[in-house]
Amino acid sequence: MRPLRAGRRATPARRRARRDPAPSRLAYRLHRLWLTPLFRGIIRIGLPVALILGGGIAYLSDDARREDLQAWLAEQRRAFEERPEFMVKLMAIDGASAELAEDIREAVPLDFPVSQFDLDLEHIRRTIAGLDAVADVDVSLRGQGVLQVSVRQRVPVVVWRGRQEIALLDETGHRVAAVIARAMRPDLPLIAGDGADRAVPEALRLMAAAEPLKARLRGLVRMGERRWDLVLDRDQRILLPERDPVAALERVLALDTATDLLARDVTTIDMRIPARPTLRLGPGAREAFRMINLFELEEGAVGQ
């Protein structure tokens, strides 16, 4: 019988056993374990993932290290953003007058050069669009580090004498700028009264209709925020109705052409009820009218 345990190294049995390719029981079991799909998955995927995660968490669990990492990241980010190809060196403003351009530069205080990652174009656009004189604005980045601002300005069409200030309005009634005195823009018609700025288009139509009276026209006054008074020199007023004022004005102009109405001593032409135009006479005319009436009365009495 073979020796039950392997003897000394020199025995032939031992030498033969060493040549034996049979795997040890441990090797056999490990090999079988390795061939088990679940175990294999855990070792090949689960273990590396756990190691990396664990290492990362252990590294980041220290506050100082985390701050260092954040600082380093921020610095890297800054260095990237401040590369020369990303820097904006100047702002070009198109379509704006000199004063408006000045206002825009004041409203958007940028300290050039600035990285284009720090620019909030939408915010800049909204800021500029918030200026009164700006109708529309387009902000974009052009090559070579230029911030392009294309502006469409509002065009003032009337001067509005309000309660607080004298302002220029565009055709929609939007405030464009303030002026110190009416005399600064004599080329523009004048409107006055509360709520006049909300009826600018109507005022403009009335102005156009009152073109024949241009030499005598002083301005339009909004009355009670609902209707217009056309004011001429010699303190003459044409009271226009709330509804369809242009037609009423044209009737007055027709009367004027026919009877030279406005040249007479009439203080007010009241068209507020279009079916019943009313005149208020000046003091001289009133006296004359009374005399005429008296004369006619006497004549009538004589005739009878």
Partner: protein
């Protein structure tokens, strides 16, 4: 008896579980080599189960994904002699097969050649309660076979119904559903030495494996080497292995007899070693390279270097002619074939309609063996190689591998055995709860 029934059924359940998992190993524990194949089943089992044998004899359902062979140690005459050595040899074979398959195997079907197989023919007969034969009736008729005295410590390895007869009609393969009054069955039973099987199972359990089936290699060589008409008409398969030569006789696609001769290739090697006074390894090499069974005049002139490393020049330069070698080998081959002849005569092989003899196994590769065998066994002798199965490596297609290839066919499509049928209620132990349940099932 019921213990065996339960054990074999447990093995069948294990095989089913392995099929579900899709991977099973077959292991041939031989005396000169241990071969292992890892099979992968790809869901073909259902088709094979429903409609009898599937395409290509059920072998299209599996594929060999791992194969390994190792020198056997600790096995003598197909039986475990040194358990530790055998266990290590099995481990070696399994590990390299698993490595090749890259898949873990937990279930193994084991074939072995030794353990003194003995074959019995059994007959049983019952009257049918109903006119049509049910599966219950088949189980009952199988249980009705009178059990011979198989001897102390022996166990049943195979118990296959070979032939059914219904009244006067015999030769039925499947009597279920047919109408008759009396059902009788012929059963072939193979018994083996229980202790030898027990030792082998213990070796396998120590390798952390579950046994999903047991088979005799005499049987599995037959199913892999005999072609269909040979199995149908009657043929004998002689599996000439290392230390045991298995004999199995097939008829009508069933094994009807099996036996083994405890002589084989190792004895030839031993004869050469003694006769030429060379070490066993040299003798094995000379046998493999220069061996033969029939000497011709040319062989006198063909000298074989015997070699040696004794340091004595005269001793190390010895030569022997091939005729001398054949002269040593031939008597032993004749002895083996004579023994096989005796076994075949005892089985009544000459009464079969066709008397084809197929030689396989490692020894069948000796040149000139078929001529010698024809003179001893009869005229119709051919050399057999195993069936080609999918994925089998070229190195494992030789006749030495017919047993392990047969085992894989056995794994893919095992024949119905006695324990594949439900045990009839009368055979259950008295007062068993299951018996009551069975009674309810049958009567309600």
């Amino acid at each position: 008896m019921s213990d065996l029934h339960a054990r074999q059924r447990a093995m069948r359940a294990m095989r089913k579980a392995a099929m579900q998992r899709g991977v099973i190993a077959v292991l041939d524990v031989g005396s000169s080599k241990i071969a292992c194949l890892v099979l992968r089943f790809d869901g073909g089992e259902r088709i094979a189960g429903d409609e009898g044998v599937g395409s290509l004899a059920g072998q299209s359902t599996f594929r060999v994904i791992g194969a390994a062979t190792t020198r056997s140690r600790g096995v003598r005459f197909g039986e475990v002699e040194a358990m530790g050595e055998t266990e290590r040899a099995i481990r070696t074979a399994l590990q390299s097969a698993q490595k090749m398959a890259n898949q873990r195997v937990d279930h193994v079907i084991v074939g072995f050649s030794g353990a003194r197989v003995r074959s019995y023919g059994l007959a049983g007969s019952i009257g049918l309660e109903e006119t049509a034969v049910s599966e219950q009736d088949v189980a009952r008729v199988l249980a009705a076979c009178d059990m011979p005295d198989i001897g102390e410590g022996r166990e049943v390895l195979h118990a296959q119904p070979v032939n059914f007869a219904l009244d006067h009609r015999s030769g039925l393969t499947d009597p279920r559903g047919q109408i008759g009054n009396r059902l009788s069955v012929d059963m072939h039973m193979l018994t083996v030495d229980g202790a030898a099987v027990h030792n082998l199972l213990r070796c396998i359990n120590r390798c952390d494996l579950e046994v999903a089936g047991l088979a005799s290699t005499a049987y599995t060589s037959g199913i892999s080497t005999l072609v269909e008409d040979e199995q149908e008409l009657g043929a004998a398969c002689i599996d000439m292995g290392g230390a045991v030569t298995g004999v199995s006789i097939f008829m009508k696609k069933h094994m009807i007899y099996a036996d083994s001769v405890r002589l084989g290739g190792d004895h030839i090697t031993l004869d050469i070693s003694k006769g030429l006074q060379v070490p066993l390894a040299t003798a094995e090499r000379i046998k493999t390279l220069n061996g033969g069974a029939v000497a011709t005049g040319m062989d006198d002139r063909e000298m074989i270097e015997l070699g040696g490393d004794s340091g004595d020049w005269e001793h190390d330069r010895r030569t022997a002619s091939r005729a001398e070698l054949i002269g040593i080998m031939r008597p032993r081959i004749e002895e083996i074939l004579e023994e096989v002849r005796l076994r075949l005569d005892a089985a009544g092989f000459e009464c079969l309609p066709s008397q084809q003899i197929v030689l396989t196994g490692g020894v069948s590769q000796i040149p000139g063996l078929d001529g010698l065998a024809a003179r001893i066994l009869g005229n119709s002798v051919r050399l057999g190689r195993p069936l080609r199965v999918q994925g089998l490596p070229q190195a494992a297609t030789g006749p030495a591998f017919s047993a392990v290839v047969g085992l894989s066919l056995f794994a893919a499509h095992p024949q119905d055995e006695w324990w594949d049928f439900e045990m009839p209620a009368e055979r259950y132990p008295a007062r068993s709860l299951r018996r009551a349940v069975r009674w309810f099932k049958e009567n309600w």
